[in-house]
Every structure is written in structure tokens, then in C-alpha cells.
């Protein structure tokens, strides 16, 4: 068992481990968090916005973020599932 562990370590060191990027999930969490924070800021602005033009612009931006977060969550699930398998 120990030998196998060391061999795995060596093969990673020699660049032969082409598995998925372990940082990908971490990165995705960071991106989703940033989107969520932008979303909250825009929602706060929308609550205070008065002009029709401003409200329309903010509504569009929020819709973009909603769709992107939806896609991000989907990617997160797929990555998680592939790691568990």
C-alpha cells in the first residue's frame, strides 16, 4: 500500500497524473460567491431605483446573473459527481 502511494506521488511529480483539476471546484465556489454578492448589490440598488430606465437596466443585469448562477450550479453538480465517481 505504501509503495503504491509513493508510486502515485512519483507519477504526479513526473507530470503523468492527468486527473481533473482539484482547484476547479474551489474556483467555481469563489465565482458563484462573487456573483451572489453582485446580485445582492444590484437588488439593493433596484429597491431604491426610481427611473424606469434605471430599473430596466438593473432588472436585465439581475437576469444575467441569475442565468449564470444557474449554469454555475449545474457545472458544480457535474464536477462533484465526476469526482465522487
Amino acid at each position: 500500500m505504501k509503495i503504491k502511494k509513493h508510486l502515485d506521488k512519483l507519477s504526479r511529480l513526473l507530470g503523468q497524473d492527468d486527473g481533473i483539476d482539484r482547484d476547479q471546484l474551489k474556483k467555481l465556489r469563489k465565482v458563484l460567491k462573487a456573483l451572489k454578492s453582485d446580485q445582492e448589490k444590484l437588488q439593493a440598488k433596484l429597491a431604491e431605483a426610481e427611473g424606469e430606465h434605471e430599473r430596466r437596466k438593473l432588472g436585465q443585469k439581475l437576469e444575467v446573473i441569475r442565468l449564470q448562477r444557474e449554469k454555475g450550479v449545474e457545472v458544480y453538480r457535474t464536477l462533484k459527481a465526476s469526482r465522487e465517481n
Binding site: L13, L14, G15, Q16, D21, Q24, K27, L28, K30, V31, A34, L35, D38, Q43, L46, G51, H53, E54, R56, K57, G59, Q60, K61, L62, E63, V64, I65, R66, L67, Q68, R69, E70, K71, G72, V73, V75
Partner: protein, 612 residues
């Protein structure tokens, strides 16, 4: 002219040497192997460290002692100050470190090179060094065949050390054999003349071999074989120290003014240290005897005593010159200034950075930001907007009704002054860097090239738009003025959002944010078209004005598209290799169009919905 005859002259001298003496060819082969070993180690450290050497430099030079330490340790480990110098010049050119920090590194590197003499004298001559070289070469070549760059780098380092050792062994054997046929020591000279002559030979040998390390190795092996007197060997060591600055000065010729200042500081340091060593040769030699006796070096062990001398006079130089670093910086910055021209010139590009893909990428990235910043002003002023209006908080919709404050600007002239030179330098630099860089960097360089092309395209679109915009903003017809102001507000809004995105650290988040601007822009473009149609139907504007508005609307769309493309390309240049998140999460063009079209129907409750 001098450069053209230099190589043939050296080749003829070497050829003659090979013809008259077999031992000479062994020594020359030793020097060649030694130099090849140094090149191998340098190449290895480039690959092995990836960008970590640069990152380390970035974080360990905020204090003078750290700069000195970085120069000392990195040169000791790599046994070559040239890579450290190249990185330092390129960092300085890209304004990533200050001149004082750069000088600190160079001083430290000078001290670091003295460890080479210790390795050759203390290890290379005491053991059968070629026995160590063979396994290193075998394992090194084995690692060279691996796929990973890091492992390849380690392979190059091993191969480099192997050749370095082999070179020392050849030099050692060559000089030993030489002793039987010719005694070079009979040409030894004493007194001031000998000191100056051998210092000159040291300078010349270092300039020819482009390495003070090789001169020292040659000196120490000749000294060990009794082909040189100790006194002349000391002068050669001083000469090697002075000669190495000539290499640095030649390297700085293509650098920016900061690189040239650093080379000047290097020249001052080594020149002053060399001069002091020549003037104080007797007390220094006495100090060497005293120190050697103290650390157990035998009085007749001249090779190790030479290593002590080399370390001692460089240490003396550092101790004497460190307190004057700030004064040196002031003098260099006062007397070595860039050529002041009315044109804006590239600030961060230098030939030295080309050799290190990470630094080259960083330098051209900064230069592209510099170009974009200039273009930002041109575009803003081209549509009669002040930078302060864009950077401020003002609601840009207020521009629609207010009379525009026209800005007098000749875009062609400004293009020549602020853009052309930087743009040309960037394109040339990227072309050269792409050839030198590995495939991993190609996409990022290509992205920066695109960013440059898009910046220039944005300025051209501004020029087209400005023709009508400038005159119609003075129109008596309020509707025409409002529609042209609408173009300005759109461009101002995009410029504002794009400059805000520059603050974002995570490239994927920036790329996703661009979708929001795209939706806003698509909606604005469609509103502008509807407005023109309405004005035509109402008979408020003539058909010729209507076609102008339609054409200028297209230029506005084009300009905005270029500005977004610049931001996208700049961001992609920072994207981690193999990153796919952006393509997985960004919206498709039809999704963007749907949101822009159906904006009025967006349900606020749905906007608060959390993804399932």
C-alpha cells in the same frame, strides 16, 4: 565593425591553439563544457522554477537586506548571476521593483558569484570531480525525456552541473599536461605593471567568455597546476569582476532607462570595488593570509586563498557601497533620464524580458493597459466626454438633454503621439515573445495581440463617429442632439463599466460581467433604432439626417464591440491554462438577445429566485 571581426579573430586564435597544442584544446574544451553547463543550469532553472523565481523576487525585495539576500541566495544556488540580472532588469523595466531594490539584488548577486570560486577551489580540485559528473549527466538526460516542464527543468539542472564538473575536470587535466610542455608561470609579472596587465587579461577573458565564473574557474585550475603565480591570479580575479559589468552593460543596451540605470549601478559597484582592490592589494593579501590561517587553510593552498580573496574584496565592496545606495539612486535618476519626446513611448518593454515568458507576458500586459489607458482618453475625448465624467458617479442619462461641452481634439495627431509608437512596439514584442515562449504561453500572447488590435480598431471607429457627432451636437434640432447624446451616453457607460472591471481580481468573474454590459448595449442599440424610426415617421428629422443616425449608430455599436473585445482579450491573457468555467457559464448570444428584448417582462420575484 568590431562585432563583425570579433568572432573570426577568436576562431582563428582557437584554431591556431588547437594546431600547436593538444593540451590547449583540452583546456578550451573544458571551458566550452563549463560554459555549456552554465547555460544548461540557467535553462533548467527557467523551466524548473516556472514563474516562482519571479514571484519570489516580487515578495522578497521590499527591504534592502531582502534584496541583498535574494541576489546572494539565488546566485549561489544557480551559480550564475546572469539569469538573476536578466530577471532584475526585466522587473525594473516593467516597474515591478524600484531601482534601489534592483541595486540591492545586483550587490547580493555579486557576493553570490564568489561561492563559485569556493566550489571550484574547495571541491572541484580536491576530488575526482568527473566521477560525479557522469551519473549526473545520465540521470539528467533521463529526466530531460519526461513530459513535465518541471521535471525537464530538473534534468537540465543536473545536465548543467554534470557539464560544469566535466569542464572543471578537463581544465584541470589540460593544465596539468600543459606543465610538462610549457611553463606559463615564466611569463609571470610582478609589481604594478603585472597587476594592471593581468587585471586587463581578466577583463578581456570575461568579455570573451561572457562569464566571470568561467574566468575564475580557468584561473583557479591554472593556479593549481602552477601555471600562474598567486599574485597574478589575484589580479585576474579583480579583472573578472570588472569584465562581468561589460556583459551587463551590453545586456542593458536594449533595456529601458531603468535597466540602463541598473547596469550603470553595476558598473559603478564593480568598478569602485575593483579599483579599491587594486589599490589595497597588499593589505587585502595580508588579510587573506590572516583569515586563511584562522579558518585552517594551509599557507600554500593558493586556490582556496584566492577564493577567500574573491569573497573578501566583494564583501568589502558591498559593505562600503550599501550606505550609498539611495544617493546612487538619486544621482542615476537625475543624470540618466529618458529622451523626452512629445510622443508617448513604451514604458515596460525591454529586450531582457523577452527571455522569460512570464515576465514578457507581464510586461506586454502592462504595456497594453498603458495603451488602453491612452486610448481611453482618445475615445472619451473623441465623443466629447471628459475622463472625470466617466470615472465619476454622474448619471449618464443626464447627458441626453444637457448641451454638450465640445472637446477640441485632433484624433489623427493624438493617434500619432499617444498610440502608434506603443502599439507598434507591442505588436513587435508579442511577435518576438511568441517565438521564444513555449506553447503554454501562445494563447495568452495571442489574446494580448488581439487586445492591441481591438484598441486601435476602437480608435478608428471613434474617428468615423466623431465626424458627424461633433457637428450634430451643435444642431438646433433638439431631437438630433438627443440621439447623438444617446450615443455618447452609451459609450460613456461602457467605458465606465469596463474601467470598473479592471479592479476585479478573478478573470472568470470579469468575463461573466461582460455579459451584463452586452445585454445593456443590445437593449440600448435597439432603443436607438426605434427612436430613429419614430423620428422619421413623425417627420422630425430629414432622411439624410436619419441615414447619418443609422450609420453613426452602427459606428457606436462597432466602437462598443471593440471596447468589450479589448476587455475580454486582456482578461483572457490572465486566464489560467485550461480554464473552462467562463465558457460553461457565460451566456449565449441568443440568451443575451432574449434578456435584452424581454426586459420589460422580467419578473422581480423571479430575479430573487435562487438556482435550484
Amino acid at each position: 565593425m568590431l562585432r563583425r571581426i570579433f568572432l573570426p579573430v577568436i576562431a582563428v586564435i582557437l584554431g591556431y591553439g588547437f594546431w600547436v597544442s593538444g593540451d590547449f584544446s583540452e583546456i578550451a574544451a573544458g571551458v566550452a563544457l563549463f560554459l555549456f553547463g552554465m547555460l544548461g543550469m540557467e535553462q533548467g532553472f527557467r523551466l524548473f522554477s516556472g514563474g516562482s523565481l519571479q514571484r519570489l523576487l516580487n515578495h522578497t525585495t521590499d527591504r534592502l537586506w531582502k534584496s541583498l539576500g535574494f541576489g546572494l541566495v539565488s546566485t549561489t544556488v544557480m551559480q550564475s548571476s546572469s539569469l538573476v540580472s536578466v530577471i532584475t532588469i526585466s522587473f525594473l523595466s516593467a516597474e515591478m521593483i524600484s531601482l534601489a531594490q534592483g541595486i540591492g539584488i545586483v550587490f547580493g548577486a555579486n557576493l553570490g558569484t564568489t561561492t563559485g570560486a569556493w566550489i571550484v577551489a574547495g571541491f572541484g580540485l580536491k576530488v575526482k570531480i568527473s566521477a560525479y559528473a557522469m551519473p549526473m549527466l545520465v540521470f539528467g538526460v533521463l529526466l530531460l525525456m519526461q513530459a513535465s516542464n518541471r521535471v525537464k527543468g530538473a534534468g537540465w539542472i543536473l545536465v548543467g552541473i554534470g557539464f560544469l564538473f566535466l569542464g572543471i575536470a578537463y581544465m584541470k587535466e589540460g593544465f596539468s599536461a600543459f606543465t610538462a610542455t610549457l611553463d606559463l608561470a615564466q611569463y609571470a609579472m610582478t609589481g604594478v605593471l603585472g597587476l594592471l596587465l593581468f587585471t586587463g587579461i581578466g577583463v578581456l577573458a570575461t568579455v570573451v567568455m561572457q562569464s566571470s565564473h568561467a574566468t575564475l574557474a580557468l584561473t583557479i585550475t591554472a593556479l593549481a597546476a602552477g601555471q600562474l603565480t598567486y599574485e597574478n591570479a589575484l589580479a585576474l580575479a579583480i579583472g573578472a569582476n570588472i569584465g562581468t559589468t561589460i556583459t551587463a552593460v551590453l545586456g542593458a543596451l536594449g533595456a529601458t532607462i531603468s535597466g540602463k540605470r541598473l547596469a550603470a549601478a553595476h558598473l559603478i559597484f564593480n568598478g569602485v570595488t575593483g579599483l579599491l582592490a587594486l589599490l589595497m592589494i597588499r593589505p587585502l593579501a595580508a588579510a587573506v593570509d590572516w583569515i586563511s590561517a584562522g579558518i585552517g587553510i594551509a599557507p600554500q593552498d593558493y586556490t582556496l586563498k584566492l577564493a577567500v580573496f574573491h569573497t573578501l574584496f566583494n564583501l568589502m565592496g558591498v559593505v562600503l557601497m550599501v550606505p550609498f545606495i539611495q544617493s546612487m539612486v538619486r544621482v542615476l535618476e537625475k543624470y540618466m533620464t529618458g529622451v523626452s519626446v512629445e510622443h508617448d513611448e513604451p514604458r515596460y518593454l525591454s529586450a531582457a524580458s523577452l527571455e522569460l515568458p512570464d515576465v514578457a507576458l507581464g510586461a506586454v500586459y502592462k504595456e497594453t493597459l498603458h495603451l488602453f489607458d491612452n486610448a481611453f482618453s482618445l475615445v472619451a475625448h473623441g465623443v466629447d466626454l471628459k475622463r472625470s465624467t466617466i470615472r465619476g458617479e454622474q448619471d449618464l442619462q443626464a447627458l441626453l438633454e444637457a448641451p454638450a461641452q465640445l472637446i477640441d481634439i485632433d484624433l489623427d495627431d493624438q493617434y500619432g503621439r499617444m498610440i502608434k509608437s506603443i502599439y507598434s512596439a507591442n505588436i513587435e514584442f508579442i511577435s518576438r515573445a511568441q517565438v521564444l515562449a513555449s506553447a503554454d504561453y501562445r494563447e495568452r500572447f495571442a489574446a494580448l495581440r488581439d487586445a492591441n488590435l481591438e484598441i486601435v480598431a476602437a480608435i478608428k471607429a471613434t474617428k468615423h463617429l466623431r465626424k458627424n457627432l461633433h457637428s450634430h451636437l451643435r444642431s438646433n434640432n433638439r431631437d438630433i442632439r438627443r440621439e447623438y447624446n444617446r450615443f455618447r451616453a452609451r459609450i460613456g457607460s461602457v467605458l465606465r463599466q469596463v474601467s470598473q472591471l479592471a479592479e476585479e481580481d478573478e478573470p472568470v468573474v470579469t468575463l461573466l460581467a461582460l455579459d451584463r454590459i452586452r445585454v445593456e448595449e443590445m437593449d440600448a442599440a435597439s432603443n436607438a433604432n426605434e427612436a430613429v424610426d419614430r423620428l422619421i415617421r413623425d417627420g422630425t428629422i430629414s432622411s439624410s439626417i436619419a441615414t447619418s443616425l443609422i450609420n453613426d449608430g452602427a459606428y457606436t455599436r462597432e466602437l462598443v464591440g471593440h471596447l468589450l473585445a479589448v476587455t475580454e482579450s486582456l482578461t483572457r491573457a490572465n486566464l489560467a491554462e485550461g480554464e473552462v468555467l467562463d465558457s460553461e457559464m457565460t451566456l449565449h448570444i441568443d440568451e443575451i438577445a432574449d434578456i435584452a428584448r424581454g426586459s420589460e417582462g422580467v419578473d422581480p420575484a423571479r430575479l430573487k429566485e435562487e438556482p435550484r
